[in-house]
């Protein structure tokens, strides 16, 4: 399956891109995707304090991904 990963703010600077596609085995979890991102873009692109949203909802690390999911890496937020 294939998911789209979005990078925002400081994470975009780390990753050097605002978007990337990842091919994963069926049943892959968020944790596995994070590992794949680190492998391709470097460990800096997935700091320990990253939160993850799948299809615009915050999810936990053990969430299973589906083909076509929009996955966003969410740096610490600073609105207001």
């Amino acid at each position: 399956m294939r998911v789209t990963v979005l990078f925002f703010a400081v994470f975009r600077d780390f990753a050097g891109t605002d978007q990337a596609e990842f091919e994963l085995p069926d049943g892959a979890t968020v944790a596995q995707l994070i590992e794949a991102i680190g492998d391709r873009l470097g460990a800096d692109s997935v700091p320990a304090n990253v939160a993850v949203a799948v299809n615009q909802e915050y999810v936990l690390n053990n969430t299973t991904l589906q083909d076509g999911d929009e996955v966003a890496l969410i740096p610490p937020v600073a609105g207001g």
């Binding site: 304090n49 609105g79 207001g80």
Partner: protein, 143 residues
């Protein structure tokens, strides 16, 4: 209920008019304003970036949850993104309620949750020419 992410100036008075009804005894309006300093550094301007659709849906769900917890009649909450100057309003929250307790409680809860949950980021440009993403709040329930 009115929630929006905008890239134009926020009209705070219009938000206030939007929420007020004849059943309300209290209207509370919070404006977050771009300050000329942050942690001892002189700020020249700010850039706000949002994960647009998610920021709006998150802001809306916060306002809905707070409305269900506090006895308010209406809420309007708007966050601005893009380039902002000193003195510009970055966020405004208007709450109307029959009684002031609920208005204060709801207003405070919305701005606290907004700052911790809504995917918006702030890049500060300092007077010395440097720029930096401002350190934010790690979102709970993440990795």
């Amino acid at each position: 209920m009115y929630c929006e992410i905008v890239n134009q100036p926020i009209d705070v008075a219009a938000l206030e008019r939007r929420v007020r009804t004849n059943a309300d005894g209290a209207v509370l309006t919070f404006s977050g304003v771009v300050r000329d300093h942050h942690e001892g550094r002189d700020v020249e301007s700010l850039h706000y970036e949002a994960y647009g659709d998610m920021a709006l849906s998150k802001l809306r769900s916060i306002c809905e949850e707070v409305a269900s917890q506090c006895d308010v009649t209406d809420i309007a909450a708007v966050h601005r993104v893009g380039d902002l100057e000193i003195g510009d309003v970055s966020v405004a929250i208007a709450v109307a309620a029959a009684h002031r307790d609920a208005a204060y409680e709801a207003s405070r809860e919305i701005i606290e949750r907004l700052k911790r949950e809504v995917p918006i980021w702030k890049r500060e440009r300092y007077r010395d020419g440097k720029e930096e993403w401002q350190e934010g709040y790690p979102v709970d329930g993440g990795r």
